[in-house]
Symmetry: C2
DNA sequence: CCAATATGTAAGTGAACACTAACTTACTTT
DNA sequence: AAAGTAAGTTAGTGTTCACTTACATATTGG
């Protein structure tokens, strides 16, 4: 699925609307206004509103997957790898806050199965990369084996998600990367034996 | 703010709709259908759809506050107190799954300020009780003081929230209490020194 | 008995929604 | 130069939304 430049512009505008004012704010009228064209023009690029969201989520999942894979390759040491993975996430969302919504929407939206599946896929992608790092860390003895890799992954992911939520709820008023490093650092410290 | 019995029935039906099929599914038409009366009858009990949600969130926040306060009183020992607090939460949401939505909605809905504020209030209530317990645990030496009580609270809350999200996303297909005990137990173990 | 109150119904309202049909314009390919 | 294509426009469509008005019925307290 290749995304044309004009489609990407629309996707980014859609993400902006959702992240700024919530899902209810994403209407064809408002999206067209932001694009400085009419509602009908939207349908030259996407066949439905749902397709806009699904394409956006697909694009986002691919981006995140690539980034995390490249970070994993660059950092063989597990503790540093996890740290670098979250650093990469913080940097990404700092630069592309319009995609923040995709972290939280899961299980709430359900306007369609396609959207729900797209959101879940993003979560699964992240989980897979993190779980790999944690397992490596357990093998090398860097992380505790008192609890399963799945449990440790859950704790780290939960910590990350809440951090991003609070950043968003605060109107992105603090340095998500700096505070994120502290809190992810603390969580990493707790599972490091 | 006292809630009349008929109002409570409507609130519970509204929570059911949201938890079953998402926020978009909460329409006056569907809510009236579930109550086996007409849309107009809703407006005998609430002056707007927003008031239904705000009243529901207020009711929920009060319930949770009471429960956590009573649990805290019954368990002076911090580690056991935290465990009992989450046990209480698991039991509550197992019995009242219609209120699950309120855990996740934060920062996403924004259909109105009143709703957003109501959801945030629930988060604040929980955080306050948990933070107290963690601070007590640090004072008594039960919990590590390597990280701030706020950071530890964040990690535990994030862990809890993700657990509830996964329960909901799975269609509540597993025993939230049993699995929750394991995962909260692991998190508690990590912060116990 | 009767007036007040609570709780319902039938039948609508205008506004907003996603989406479509028909037509136009600009650029590119042959 | 002609034909095709990409990307817009105007002016709608029917549907659904939250909510309202006017009226009906049942229960209850003085």
């Amino acid at each position: 699925m290749d995304i044309k430049p004009r489609q990407l512009e629309i996707i980014e505008a859609a993400g902006q609307l959702v992240t700024e004012d919530g899902f209810a704010a994403l209407t064809t009228k408002r999206l067209a206004e932001r694009m400085h064209f009419t509602e009908a023009a939207l349908y030259r690029h996407f066949k439905s509103k749902e397709e806009i969201l699904v394409t956006m989520l697909h694009h986002l999942a691919s981006n995140i997957d690539e980034r995390l894979a490249s970070v994993a390759e660059a950092h063989p040491e597990p503790v540093e790898r996890v740290r670098a993975m979250f650093d990469s996430q913080f940097t990404y969302f700092q630069k592309n806050p319009q995609y923040l919504m995709a972290i939280f929407a899961s299980g709430l939206l359900e306007a369609s199965h396609g959207i729900d599946a797209g959101i879940e896929r993003i979560m699964v992608v992240k989980r897979r990369h993190l779980l790999n790092a944690i397992k490596d860390g357990q093998r090398s003895g860097a992380f505790t084996s008192d609890h399963s890799a799945e449990t440790l992954t859950h704790i780290i992911m939960g910590t990350f998600r809440l951090h991003m939520l609070q950043w968003r709820m605060s109107g992105r008023s603090f340095d998500v990367r700096k505070k994120g490093r502290t809190i992810i650092g603390a969580a990493l410290d707790l599972i490091t034996r």
